[in-house]
């Protein structure tokens, strides 16, 4: 089911023309109204008129998170304050907050983007939707809320917290669509089961739109199964808009990127060169219709790839794959980019290996080496050496064929892998500075 069929199924050629037109307009508004962009464009030796085709985009400078922090609070706004309808901001736990403004038009288009995802789940007018994202400066709550209203749903603004009441409302009010973070969806499911319900049978829930944090395939399956729903992924970030930048149609892999409003690029985070469709790299977004806080080539630090193959749902917008990590987590091992989440996925698919792991990267002579410490699963039979050697070989072979890296596997005793605050320290990179430890999934 489409929400804006004309735009969602627009022929590629026509869509590219629209993108170019809107991008040029965006660049002109940026250059004329925002000092930061005027300086950045001048510094790169370009003016908006240099954008003659979408391929010219690569000549324009990137925008990074720090630029937004430096612009606190309003220096990136491209419209006067009487046109600003709402402000969202990041929490600013790692420094200055980033402030993003929205005009009435921005808010309307945001609602439409999210509403497309609700229609992808075959829901809309007549659907009772519960929004259990937090409301406030965080874009999750209000983003989903307005999306629900624009799609014609009856929206319950439950916000997050008070899980028992959430469950009571889901049951009593016949909620069919739940919007929240994956981890909160799982908590709702488990709490409902604890309360004696079988959510898959006792509730009317049909779909969930879950985003704002990473979730593994296993977690997706668990949520879908426990709640008896279709799991729909949503991508978005507050700098760009909020949830709704890309949404999952359920017909194929990945999420349709709202290409009439946002232009995606995938770049190599080291060389900063754009990569062809299909290759993994850092997602870079240029906004095409944002009025208050337009962004040019914003580096999201999220790692994904573009899936350009046509989707059987009929939408022409290219898809992005599930976000597999952040550039901060990326390891470059003998020239190959590897993300801890990819290693995690391979581990999850080898029976006999427990989910705890720790990767150590170091240098022997001039070559990098990777050592992966794992624990065996509790039910693994280990009294024969060859069983353990076989397990190591199997895991090494899977890693080699999936990630093209040679890994030394070490099976360790339980509780050997250090945990800090409940989270394991997943990566130790001895190459950069001694003993730097980075966690994933922050």
């Amino acid at each position: 089911m489409f929400f804006q069929e004309e735009f969602e199924t627009m022929p590629r050629e026509q869509l590219r023309e629209l993108q170019l037109l809107r991008m040029r307009d965006t660049f002109k508004r940026c250059y004329d109204n925002v000092d930061f962009y005027k300086k950045a464009f001048n510094g790169a030796g370009v003016v908006p008129e240099d954008l003659k085709s979408l391929d010219d985009l690569r000549k324009f400078p990137f925008t990074v998170k720090q630029d937004m922090r430096d612009a606190y609070p309003y220096k990136l706004f491209a419209v006067p304050m009487d046109k600003v309808a709402r402000i969202h901001a990041s929490s600013g736990t790692t420094g200055q907050a980033t402030v993003v403004g929205h005009t009435a038009g921005d808010l309307a288009r945001w609602g439409e983007c999210f509403a497309r995802g609700i229609r992808m789940a075959d829901l809309g007018p007549g659907t009772v939707m519960q929004v259990a994202y937090g409301y406030g400066l965080f874009t999750g709550g209000l983003g989903a809320h307005v999306g629900g209203e624009v799609a014609g749903c009856c929206v319950i603004p439950a916000s997050s917290g008070n899980t028992k009441r959430q469950i009571q409302m889901i049951k009593d009010m016949g909620v069919e669509l739940l919007a929240c973070t994956p981890s909160y969806a799982l908590l709702i499911a488990d709490s409902a089961i604890e309360m004696g319900y079988d959510p898959a049978v006792d509730f009317k829930l049909k779909a969930g739109i879950f985003g704002a944090e990473p979730s593994s395939d296993g977690m997706r399956r668990e949520i879908a199964q426990k709640l008896g729903i279709r799991y729909c992924d949503v991508y978005g970030l507050s700098e760009i808009m909020g949830p709704g930048v890309a949404m999952e149609c359920g017909h194929g892999e990945g999420l349709h990127f709202a290409e009439d409003h946002f232009y995606p690029e995938i770049i190599d985070p080291d060389t900063l060169e754009p990569l062809p469709d299909g290759e993994w790299g850092e997602l870079v977004i240029t906004t095409l219709t944002r009025e208050c806080t337009p962004l040019v080539r914003y580096r999201t630090r999220d790692i994904s790839r573009i899936i350009a193959q046509p989707c059987s749902c009929g939408r022409t917008h290219r898809r992005i794959d599930r976000i597999i990590g952040r550039t901060d987590d990326m390891l470059i091992i003998r020239g190959v980019n590897v993300f801890p989440s990819q290693i995690e996925q391979v581990i999850a698919e080898v029976p006999g290996i427990a989910t705890q792991y720790q990767i150590t990267v170091g240098t022997r002579g001039s070559l990098d080496y990777v050592e992966l410490a794992v624990e065996m699963a509790p039910d693994f039979v280990f009294d024969e050496i060859r069983q353990l050697e076989g397990l190591k070989k199997k895991l090494a072979a899977e890693l080699k064929s999936n990630l093209q890296i040679a890994v030394d596997i070490r099976i360790v005793e339980p509780h050997t892998i250090e945990r800090s605050e409940g989270k394991a320290k997943r990566v130790i990179d001895l190459r950069k500075n001694t003993g730097t430890i980075r966690g994933i999934g922050k």
């Binding site: 065996m376 280990f382 024969e384 050496i385 070490r410 099976i411 005793e413 509780h415």
Partner: protein, 141 residues
């Protein structure tokens, strides 16, 4: 069938001693200890007087431990005793995954065999005239 205590140990100095200390503190008497090891890990196979309590003690202390069913056979401590036994096992069409033996002062030896593929190995050994000691007798050998 008798119960062998199997413990997974990383190949680091002091790990085996630490595991044995846990067992000693739990009042467990070891009858035999056999360690198979590789460059980075080892598997300790232990016959002791109380395998169930020993398992609990080790697991409680955070070790990866398990009980493995093995066959015990009495073999006269004479030249060729073990060779004859293994020759007979060959005729049973089972795989011996590993084996070890221990001897007491009285000239008797017990062979411990981990056999794959024959639940009735013990019966057939007895039919062939071998003596398979009772579990308690092995635990208190």
């Amino acid at each position: 069938m008798i119960k062998q205590l199997t413990v997974f140990l990383t190949n680091e100095k002091g790990r085996l001693a630490a595991a044995c200390r846990v067992l000693a503190d739990a009042g467990i008497n070891l009858r035999s200890l056999n360690v198979a090891d590789t460059a980075d890990f080892g598997v300790a196979r232990i016959i002791c007087d109380n395998p169930d309590d020993a398992l609990q003690a080790l697991q409680h202390a955070g070790y990866r431990a398990a009980i493995t069913d093995v066959v015990a056979v009495c073999v006269p401590d004479v030249l060729g005793g073990l060779a004859d036994l293994l020759a007979f096992m060959d005729t049973l069409d089972v795989n011996i995954e590993y084996g070890y033996c221990f001897v007491n002062g009285g000239g008797n030896a017990i062979d411990i065999l981990k056999v794959d593929g024959g639940a009735d190995v013990e019966e057939r050994l007895i039919e062939a005239g071998y003596v398979c000691p009772k579990a308690e007798d092995v635990y208190n050998f």
